[in-house]
């Protein structure tokens, strides 16, 4: 089967004074549609960086990135945004909920950027609140939630727009193990329904849900 995502020799570095500090080195990676990939590695290895490159938030790198045969590295911002809105959902490592919006409003944000009618959006949000069993929290502000609850909202927000590919940066880091398992079950189900999932995790248990584990150390992908 053809690759959905195809990275070729991706380098990323930060300039620190006269020195270049590489975070990603000649990363070459293929992910097929419907795959469930776990990205693992020590802290500071470059996992989040990789995920942001995949999610096109980070564009300051060199190399090639093909997404469904489209050369992301050559596209302008508008095209990239279109692709992103059509296919991607993102769970941030540090949740990044919007402080001034309620839980329900936070969930509505991705929908509001995607030409969906208001009434439809309300239905979708209600549905997702239900699925994550946080209906009771819908009018609370992020500051009124526990860390785990915030993470749950972050995951819910990533999948609310029904993405084809979910990029999740430690989606269960702050969750109770049973809650974590629930999220994993949900990912598994989404995966079975056709979603491609790339998930950064420190937990071997969670990694076991994946079809494949990509290990990354000091910016290098360890080839199996």
């Amino acid at each position: 089967m053809k690759s959905m995502i195809s990275l070729r020799n991706v380098d990323k570095y930060f300039q620190q004074g006269p020195e270049r500090f590489y975070v990603l080195r000649r990363v070459t990676l293929d992910i097929k549609p419907g795959e469930f990939v776990a990205v693992m590695g020590p802290s500071g290895a470059g996992k989040s960086t990789l995920l942001h490159v995949l999610g096109m938030h980070d564009t300051a790198w060199s190399g090639e990135y093909l997404f469904l045969d489209q050369p992301i590295h050559q596209l302008d911002r508008k095209k990239r945004l279109e692709i992103y809105k059509k296919y991607f959902g993102f769970v941030f490592q540090s949740y990044h909920l919007l402080d001034d919006l309620t839980v329900a409003e936070n969930l509505d944000v991705p929908l509001s950027y995607r030409d969906i009618k208001k009434s439809e959006r309300q239905a979708i949000v209600a549905d997702i609140l239900d699925r994550f069993r946080i209906v009771g929290k819908k009018d609370l502000f992020p500051s009124q939630l526990s860390g785990g609850q915030q993470q749950l909202v972050g995951v819910a927000r990533a999948i609310v727009a029904n993405p084809k590919i979910i990029l999740a940066d430690e989606p269960t880091g702050n969750l109770h193990s049973s809650q974590g398992a629930e999220i994993m079950e949900m990912f598994k189900q989404l995966n079975e329904e056709g979603a491609t999932i790339v998930m950064v995790t420190h937990s071997e248990t969670n990694a076991a849900y994946a079809h494949r584990i990509v290990r990354i150390v000091d910016g290098w992908i360890e080839q199996q």
Partner: protein
């Protein structure tokens, strides 16, 4: 106090660490304090210390008014004055004065000087000491002994080079010799416009005249007497006069006003109060600006402040720190403000034409005197405290938040402080809305009254005034001959399209009025029976460009020996002959001389303060001749090029006649609306500064908001937001500020203009173009102020924004 020194040191370091924000705060304060200082010094010169008169609050000016019109202020007949001086118990002395335009001869060109005839009580009322020599005494008020005059300081400097040997010198005024006995103290320019004082010496019989409304009266309250007591006393006097002289005094009552209010002319005190109110608005706007900048400064150290505040003990200390910072800023603002003020005062001085300065008694003391600088210091201190108030209040409330959330996770204070900052800027902007609308209405009003509804262009006409002395022109035949000769000479000049004589030109600020009696109706003496009376040459309507609606104009054959005729204005016809044409009807003006109406003239607004054209009756100057009159010369080009030819024509008619107030007609009209022009231009400047300050405020709030929301913008971009949507997000909050400010500001402006409606002429105080235009301009300007921060928001790099932890 060592703590205070440390506070100062730390404040200084903090202010220096954020130079842009500190500079913005100092700029705002310098503008606010500077303009307020400049205006205060105008107020000081015109209202607070207009004259160097001891206990000026005890001095009252007394005029007469029609019962129906409270703002009316008329001169007083000698009979009333006599009654008041002999009967009043509430005043220790009462003085009368009367304008006298005298021709000063002896040194080169004859010079027309405005002076006043006063009685000796004037010096008691003012409690003055001469700068030189002595004042004249009551003995010198009798005819035959009235040969002393007192010069005012200005005339002494200007005409006599401040020569100390002036006392005892003889001068010629309108053909009479006077001996200078003294010089008034510097700065005493009263009665308004008078440059010398001569004794008011009348035959005893003249003091019983009850029908010549010619005297200006000033008086000093006796110790223990109050103004309300005096008013009650004078009510009884005018009731007695009304009974005694029903023809002239019915419905007339006394009007007693503190001298301070009228020292600089009718509306001046009111206008000054408007300016002071406007300036207080401006200072408040500047304070709100600084409060916001201070708040941002504190929020930038948010966690540290919150933690410190949570420790409780240091809360007062933090408040003190904030206060010291604000006071430091306002002190710097005050220093720069004084510079701004001295610059603004130069501008204001240049606004006032030199010939006006005589009419503003306190103008010579305009400047940064000790009263003004005290005001500056007080405003600066108040501004420092006011601008610290909001941040300190926020600190007090904010101290609870971290103690409730021990973990120190993000809290809702983000929205509360956002709300506080937004409310400050909304409040600030709504004040600016009020100021802008007030200024715009004033400017519109000035534009509206500046014109006169006549067909000939006032810019192409020359005017001047002549005053023929009774001694050279006894009886009206001589004066009429002079007028005829002069007009013949003027009309013969090349470039002259017409020349005319009129007793008082429209817009000149003076008018004669008379009670009208219509033939076949009982004589009326109420306010409704009053008409303005003008004596004109036959060429007047043509020269002015005022159409004749019906009947005929005067012609040279309407002379002393032919039937007495009149032309009336349309307002006159509406008032006295509402049903039918006035042509052929007869009226008299109180003297029993019947005039046949032969023409009907279009209306002309004689004084913008009248709001509507008043009735006017015109008579041929040949049949009713005034010795003082205006001349109007219509030219086909620039009138100033004719000035010397006109002077020569007057000189050829009578070499001893000085030409007074030679200027273009346009200039005369502008001079007459000078007060409102002055106020309008100052208000416009204040409005512009207010707009600038509120834009500065909105800009800095938006810049802060964008900086604080960087992470949010990053998240939104990462969730798929288009960059344009971020631009709109920021612009929208700017427009919300504009909308909220207008919601607050427009009704407030409406209320303020309702209070000011008495000062607005020519346009409605609720002028639609202003009430629609100001919001449009403001919204556009605010959106523009948001553009840079908004653009910065769209530049957010999601990846750096998301790294924010």
């Amino acid at each position: 106090m060592s703590g205070l020194r440390e506070d100062l040191r730390i404040s200084w370091r903090r202010l220096a660490a954020r130079p842009a924000a500190s500079a913005a705060a100092i700029l705002a304060l310098a503008l606010g304090i500077g303009f307020s200082t400049a205006n205060y010094s105008v107020a000081d010169a015109i209202l607070f210390h207009p004259l160097p008169v001891p206990d000026i609050d005890r001095v009252v000016v007394i005029g007469l008014r029609l019962e129906a019109s409270p703002d009316d202020f008329r001169s007083v007949p000698p009979a009333d004055f006599s009654l008041w001086t002999s009967s009043s118990r509430t005043f220790q002395s009462i003085a009368a004065d009367r304008r006298w335009f005298a021709t000063f001869t002896g040194s080169g060109e004859p010079l027309q000087v405005q002076g006043a005839l006063v009685n000796a009580a004037f010096f008691d009322v003012m409690q003055l000491r001469p700068a030189l020599g002595r004042f004249f005494t009551a003995e010198e008020e009798h005819p035959g002994h009235d040969n002393s005059i007192v010069l005012n300081y200005h005339l002494w400097e200007r005409q006599f080079a401040a020569d100390p040997a002036i006392v005892g010198r003889t001068v010629q005024l309108s053909g009479r010799s006077f001996t200078v006995c003294g010089v008034l103290p510097k700065g005493l320019n009263f009665p308004r416009g008078a440059e010398f004082l001569a004794p008011l010496a009348w035959e005893p019989g003249a003091w019983a005249d009850s029908s010549s409304f010619v005297l200006h009266v000033t008086a000093r309250l006796r110790d223990g007497a109050s103004l309300p007591q005096a008013r009650a006393e004078f009510d009884s006097f005018t009731r007695a006069s009304a009974a005694q002289y029903p023809a002239t005094h019915s419905h007339v009552t006394a009007n007693l006003v503190p001298l301070r209010e009228r020292a600089s002319g009718g509306h001046a005190a009111g206008y000054i109060r408007i300016l002071i109110a406007a300036v207080l608005f401006l200072v408040l706007i500047a304070c709100l600006n600084v409060a916001n900048l201070q708040l941002a400064r504190i929020l930038a150290r948010g966690r540290e402040m919150a933690v410190r505040a949570a420790l409780g003990a240091s809360r007062l200390r933090i408040a003190r720190q904030v206060l010291v910072e604000s006071l430091l800023l306002s002190a710097a603002g005050a220093l720069l403000g004084v510079l701004t003020a001295s610059w603004a005062l130069d501008y204001i001085r240049a606004l006032i034409p030199p010939e006006f300065i005589r009419f503003l008694p306190g103008w010579s003391s305009l400047g940064l005197n000790r009263w003004v600088l005290t005001w500056t210091a007080l405003t600066a201190a108040a501004a420092g405290i006011l601008s610290a108030l909001a941040p300190v209040a926020w600190l007090n409330r904010a101290s609870l938040a971290p103690s409730l959330h021990e973990s120190g996770r993000s809290s809702t204070t983000g929205t509360t402080r956002g709300r506080l900052r937004t409310s400050l800027v909304v409040f600030e902007t709504s004040l600016a809305v009020v100021l802008l609308i007030g200024a715009a209405v004033m400017v519109r009003s000035f534009g509206a009254i500046d014109g006169l509804d006549v067909s000939n262009d006032p810019r192409q006409a020359l005017t001047f005034r002549l005053s023929l002395p009774e001694s050279r022109y006894p009886g009206s035949a001589a004066a009429a001959r002079f007028q005829n000769d002069l007009l013949t000479r003027l009309q013969a000049l090349p470039g002259v399209r017409g020349a005319a004589i009129v007793s008082n030109l429209p817009g000149s600020g003076s008018a004669n009025s008379a009670f009208v009696t219509v033939e076949g109706r009982p004589a009326e003496r109420g306010p409704g029976a009053v008409s303005q009376a003008q004596s004109i040459s036959p060429s007047y309507f043509h020269t002015l460009g005022l159409p004749l609606v019906e009947g005929r104009a005067f012609n040279p054959s309407d002379g002393r020996d032919t039937a007495q005729v009149a032309i009336v204005s349309q307002a006159f016809a509406r008032r006295f002959f509402p049903a039918a044409s006035p042509l052929g009807r007869r009226v008299h003006l109180g003297d029993g001389n019947w005039l046949t109406i032969v023409g009907l003239a279009a209306d002309v607004l004689h004084d913008y303060g009248d709001r509507h054209p008043l009735p006017i009756v015109y008579r041929p100057a040949a049949q009713f001749t005034w010795n003082s009159f205006d001349a109007l010369v219509a030219t086909s080009g620039d009138p100033s090029s004719l000035a010397s030819a006109v002077r020569r024509a007057v000189h050829d008619t009578d070499a001893a006649q000085p030409v007074y107030l030679l200027r273009s007609f346009d200039r005369l009209l502008r001079d007459n609306t000078f007060g409102i022009a002055f106020v309008a231009s100052i208000l416009a400047a204040l409005g512009a500064v207010a707009l600038f300050l509120s834009l500065l405020g909105v800009y800095s709030v938006m810049a802060c908001v964008v900086a604080e929301r960087t992470r949010e913008f990053g998240v939104r971009l990462a969730l798929g937001a288009r960059r344009a949507s971020l631009l709109w997000l920021v612009l929208r909050s700017g427009l919300l500020i504009a909308a909220a400010s207008l919601l607050l500001g427009l009704p407030a402006a409406f209320a303020v203009l309702h209070l000011l409606r008495g000062f607005i002429f020519g346009v409605s105080p609720y002028d639609l173009s202003v009430f629609a235009g100001v919001p449009a301009v403001l919204s556009a300007a605010l959106a523009a102020a948001c553009l840079l921060p908004a653009w910065r928001a769209t530049r957010t790099d999601p990846i750096t924004a998301l790294r924010y932890e």
